[in-house]
């Protein structure tokens, strides 16, 4: 059994290396979503008092999206440096964050972030078509082969965040 298992692993690994020549035209969805998130941050305005040293983008778990966002660590956002933070369950964990991106499959975290945004200017970006119904201000989704995003403008305003007109134009749908 073990021998079979080892061989299967080797075969898989070989498949991996050989296939490299043949492919790929498509981008990984998580990579594109990460780039979209970085750009979204550039088109959102935060009230002045929330300015800290770093621009903190907080993440709940180290999944595919978190890994892809690492590419953008230290890149500039509104004159500050983008810092990624993994947050846990403590109530104050979101306190120092300016934005949070919640991956799909974590509804409790999305609801929690949405609730936190009522008391601080926190941009909540969620994954999935129903994310804006569950606490997110911006919902990222895949439609066909493209990445799209929906905006809940009213929720943005309540968190004292502003969105540029360009952002609203590019959104698939704007909910008020």
């Amino acid at each position: 059994m073990k021998e079979f298992f080892r061989r299967a692993l080797v075969a898989l690994a070989l498949l991996g290396t050989d296939a490299a020549q043949a492919v790929p035209e498509l981008a990984a969805a998580a990579q594109v979503k990460a780039a979209v998130i970085y750009n979204l941050l550039l088109f959102i305005d935060w009230p002045r008092e929330s300015a800290a040293d770093d621009f903190r983008l907080c993440l709940f778990e180290g999944g595919a999206l978190a890994a892809a966002l690492e590419t953008f660590a230290d890149k500039p956002i509104h004159g500050r440096r983008l810092a990624l933070r993994l947050v846990g369950n403590a109530p104050d964990d979101l306190r120092a964050c300016s934005a949070t991106a919640v991956e799909g499959g974590n509804p409790a975290a999305l609801a929690r972030a949405g609730a936190a945004a009522k008391t601080q200017p926190l941009l909540v970006i969620g994954e999935g078509t129903t994310a804006i119904d569950r606490g997110a201000m911006i919902g990222l989704a895949t439609a066909g082969s493209r990445i799209v995003f929906d905006i809940d403008l009213a929720a943005l305003r309540r968190a004292r965040l502003g969105a540029s007109s360009k952002l609203l134009r590019l959104a698939r749908q704007v909910v008020e």
């Binding site: 498509l26 970085y38 690492e70 590419t71 799909g104 974590n106 952002l167």
Partner: protein, 654 residues
């Protein structure tokens, strides 16, 4: 932070690979351009079930580790109103007060990465160690209570459990774990995965488990001429499980197998007490291949092929002079599913699908071993088709409707329609109100229709499907960022219940539809609070009442309470404590008392060079409690395990 960096390594690899879009290239693009890039097709099966219109519970890998859950059933007990029972052969789930002893979990659907795993003979969702997968392979376990036949077809009456397995990018290395524990338990597991430069994401896992078990006392067999009631060394169990999973571009596939052998100490089905050679063996093999792609900006398709095999062998040593008897069940099946999604119509998300299922072999045999005497040899083929449609419609600001229906036609069975409608309203940001209505069904399975040995049980091919209609109202609120509250009320009506009864004419057991309907209603409340210092408190209380002719059904607790506490201790240790209480339950003949049990897990968080340790104590107080037994048992109630200890060592190689 470490997690991010490690995973980022994997991501950078993808970018650096042959992929035409490297991460750094993407970083240079404008938002306009990014939204024009084509991405690899996301599967519907990747979409979290928690986004479906229901009161889903998500159990994460972190929860599984923190509370030391050892199998799917223990993990699923995190969901409100879910309780598990064990009869030392299999593990069964009760949901919303419905968990009849002797039923084989045929009213719950178990999915692995979205693919159905219930076998086609017993329709059994295997949630104990007999499960087709290892709990360590699970990244996220989703439980969606209520009817889901509108999307998944038969058997989704009380809920679906979907085990989402780790991907290679998420594992990015090799995890090794070794366990030792009470009852001479030993287990070793390896799980490895990586996202290669070529874009190939692979996962491979293998687990071996063995437990000798303890001597068990059954007072029903403490009688002169039978024995002293002790079954000596007959509770052993062992399994081997393996997994290979890969995805590349728009393709994804997996193969998993499980073989489990359980010694049965209960002398069920009238077998000899304290006799060796009483075992049940389950082997399952699942292979899955899916290809998804975008046809245009608005259209997406997915094709999914699945093949499975299930083998069940059980020996029944009867008291001399009767011969030992054997059951052999074999099932081979495959299915093909096509799904089309359309997102081109503003405020709508459409899903259309069709599924074909074929069972080239369904075999049930029963015979006396020596002298060989055939009692049953039933072989045939089966099959069915299903078509379904669903629309998610955002018809007004703060309102969302989810409408769907599925029609299933199965060979030799009545064609069934399963509609579902959900209305989701967000009156204020902090609260969501959901109104749900759905029908689900399960066709009589092969075992119920065709198993007959002519001695104790006879076949009945004319059973109609049983069906359930459920209505539900659920409110979720988050009054504070650190407090989440949930409240739900449901009612369900079950028609045509398939149940075993004794035919007075020939004194044989037979499955028949029950004419009387079963009605139930219940309330569910839950709360989750984040406390200072990273501590978390979760709890739920449920009240349920099931009405059926002849009074309350067996194994139906009126009240269930759960409490989960977890948080960091000093010195890099995490504590996970969970308590569960059930009110008294009726058994077939009498009742079992209510009980509260608790499990305590201490776990090291940081992996040092020498790995990390965890210690779990299950049934912390050594509480004696019982689960109701099925008709096949002499015991009206079966004692559960006393205090159990499990020590685990694990390490990660990058």
């Amino acid at each position: 932070m470490l997690g991010i960096r490690a995973a980022a390594g994997a991501a950078a690899l993808v970018a650096a690979a042959g992929a035409s879009w490297a991460a750094d290239d993407l970083a240079q693009l404008s938002l306009d351009d990014l939204l024009k890039i084509e991405v690899a097709g996301a599967s519907r099966h990747d979409q979290p079930l928690s986004e479906t219109p229901s009161t889903a519970t998500v159990i994460t890998a972190e929860d599984i580790r923190r509370f030391g859950f050892r199998d799917l059933a223990e993990s699923l007990q995190m969901a409100r109103g879910v309780y598990a029972t064990h009869d030392r052969a299999y593990t069964y789930l009760g949901v919303r007060g419905f968990g009849r002893p002797g039923d084989y979990n045929s009213r719950i659907l178990l999915l692995q990465d979205g693919a159905r795993t219930n076998d086609p003979v017993y329709d059994q969702a295997m949630v104990g160690y007999e499960a087709p997968l290892e709990i360590d392979w699970v990244k996220r376990l989703e439980f969606v209570p209520g009817p889901s036949s509108a999307l998944y077809g038969g058997n989704a009456l009380f809920g679906i459990a979907n085990a989402v397995l780790w991907s290679g990018a998420e594992l990015d290395g090799t995890r090794v774990s070794v366990d030792a524990g009470s009852g001479r338990l030993a287990r070793a597991g390896i799980l490895s995965g990586r996202l290669e430069n070529s874009g190939l994401d692979w996962v491979a896992g293998l687990s071996l488990y063995g437990r000798r078990g303890e001597d068990l006392y059954f007072r029903e067999f403490d009688a002169p001429g039978v024995g002293n009631g002790i079954a000596h060394g007959l509770d052993g169990e062992r399994y081997v499980k393996g997994l290979l999973k890969a995805s590349w571009q728009n393709w994804r596939g997996s193969i998993s197998f499980s073989a489990r052998n359980k010694d049965v100490p209960t002398a069920y089905f009238g077998t000899a007490f304290d006799a060796a050679g009483n075992f049940a063996r389950d082997q399952s093999l699942h292979a899955d291949l899916a290809h998804g792609r975008a046809l245009s900006v608005a259209w997406e398709e997915e094709i999914r092929l699945h093949a499975g095999s299930y083998r069940y062998d059980a020996d029944y040593p009867y008291p001399a002079p009767a011969a030992a008897n054997r059951d052999e069940t074999r099932a081979v099946w495959w299915s093909a599913e096509y799904q089309l999604r359309y997102a081109g119509w503003r405020d709508h998300a459409w899903l259309l699908g069709a599924e074909v299922r074929r069972q080239p072999l369904l075999m049930q045999r029963n015979f006396d071993i020596d002298p060989r005497l055939e009692k049953l040899d039933d072989r045939h083929k089966g099959g069915g088709v299903g078509v379904f449609v669903q629309d998610e419609w955002r018809f007004a600001s703060r309102w969302l409707a989810n409408l769907g229906a599925r029609i299933d036609a199965q060979q030799g069975q009545t064609t069934m329609a399963s509609p579902r409608a959900a209305l989701i309203y967000r009156p204020v940001d902090m609260a969501t109100v959901k109104l749900l209505y759905g029908k689900a069904f399960r066709p009589a399975n092969d075992y119920e229709r065709r198993y007959g040995d002519g001695i104790s049980q006879k076949a009945n091919p004319d059973i109609e499907p049983e069906r359930i209609t459920t209505r539900e109202l659920a409110i979720d609120a988050m009054p504070l960022p650190t407090l989440r509250l949930g409240l739900g009320h449901y009612r369900y009506t079950l028609h045509n219940l398939i149940d075993q009864e004794l035919d007075a004419a020939d004194n044989l057991l037979v499955f028949r539809n029950q004419s009387a309907k079963i009605q139930a209603r219940g309330w569910e409340a839950e709360a989750e609070a984040m406390l200072a210092g990273g501590w978390r408190l979760r709890g739920s209380l449920t009240w349920q009442r099931v009405d059926q002719p002849g009074g309350e059904p067996s194994n139906s607790p009126r009240r269930i309470g759960k409490l989960f506490v977890d948080g960091p201790l000093t010195g890099g240790w995490l504590l996970g404590l969970n308590l569960q209480g059930l009110s008294p339950r009726r058994t077939l003949a009498a009742a079992v008392p209510g009980y509260v049990t608790g499990n305590l897990v201490l776990r090291q968080t940081e992996h040092t060079r020498h790995g990390a340790w965890s210690v779990g104590i299950y049934n912390l107080a050594g509480k004696r409690y019982w689960d109701p037994g099925g008709r096949e048992h002499v015991q009206d109630a079966l004692p559960a395990d006393g205090r159990q200890v499990r020590v685990r060592w694990e390490t990660v190689f990058r």
